[in-house]
Symmetry: C2
Subunit: 217 residues, 2 copies
């Protein structure tokens, strides 16, 4: 099993091992093209998903049309268990992607109900940790810090390499609770301060990791 990479996951991913395994063995493979819906807001949440390749985005529209991005999921990540019996967020393919899907019932049969509950609990708690960190980020941090933290999360696996951002500025904005323009401004500012260096609009290189990492804390 290849080591999963996710900028948003907590470091310890052990509890999910059994789920990853089960989805891998019992799941069917599906392909989605860019912007295609994987599941809808309010849809029954009786499946577990794992990204094989590409990137998935979860989002939610409020009554007034404002969009909130829940998270981004990368190759190796599990998703679709964020909440109770119905999905609060919809999931869409951010890029063309391949996803493995397994019914919860099938996993429970194969692994035992207690095992799956324990594993889902572990995975859910990791997700919750991320959410709590996100609340703090949104509540207590400036636009520059939010954007910096976002870049740091994406670069953290290999800060010396060039990092690709698969999502649009609008996606970043809707995740960070900012306007697209502010995201753009903060990016140029981080660039002006020689903290990062954007080769193209969606590729960047970290110049001063300590300064960037400090924003993620």
């Amino acid at each position: 099993m290849d080591k999963p990479y996710s900028p948003f996951a907590a470091d310890d991913r052990r509890p999910a091992a059994i789920l990853i395994d089960a989805v891998e063995r019992l799941g069917g493979s599906m392909r989605f093209s860019r912007d295609e819906e994987i599941y809808a807001q309010e849809e029954d949440a009786d499946r577990l998903y794992r990204v094989v390749s590409g990137v998935v985005r979860t989002s939610r529209f409020s009554a007034d049309g404002r969009r909130q991005i829940g998270s981004f999921y990368y190759a190796g990540d599990l998703f679709g268990f964020e909440v109770g019996s119905r999905h609060v967020f919809a999931a869409e393919a951010l890029t063309d992607c391949e996803v493995r899907v397994a019914r919860r019932g099938a996993i429970a049969l194969a692994a035992g109900t207690d095992k799956i509950d324990e594993a889902i609990l572990g995975a859910t708690q990791m997700e919750m940790e991320r959410l709590q960190a996100h609340v703090v980020l949104l509540c207590r941090r400036s636009a520059k810090e939010r954007v910096g933290a976002f870049l740091a999360a994406h670069a953290r696996n290999d800060p010396s390499a060039e990092t690709e951002l698969p999502m649009s500025r609008q996606d970043m904005a809707d995740y960070l609770g900012l306007s697209m323009e502010t995201v753009s401004r903060m990016l140029t500012r981080l660039q002006d301060e020689a903290i990062v260096d954007f080769g193209s609009t969606r590729r960047f290189q970290v110049r001063r990791w300590p300064a960037l990492a400090a924003m993620a804390a």
Copy 2:
């Protein structure tokens, strides 16, 4: 068992029934006076708690000293299971209160590991729903809407009765991601618009429920 009241809980609290029961039967009773710590940030999370009387607040200090309030828990609410093995938030008595406490291990022995995992999973998912709603609130809503939603959540059980707010303006501010002054200003504004009516600083009556409820959506 009296019906639990919590302004922040999701409507369906069924999954937690077994936990409530277990904590009730196996737990010991503890009393805390105002502002006393129930458990600390980073402390081991091997216990489950249930509020018998009074109000509990969970909070977290970041490195730079800024405080974030996680949630408030009222009589009947379970808390202490927000996340993995260590508490991310600390818990304090907001008012003098009585709390029942049980070790997870004891509950598992009595109810079976699978049962407790299932129940904790259900409770965790409810907590996550609240967190997701909170993220949307913080990301996408104005100060007035946030304060309105907060009041609506507290008044929703009995919108025609007078509602008491047990927490300070600063607590509200740290929960809503606003400054204390802004909270105060928005409250007077809601009062000026005849949406609510404050008899004293911590007691209010809803005047126009539809207008207030609209902010909670």
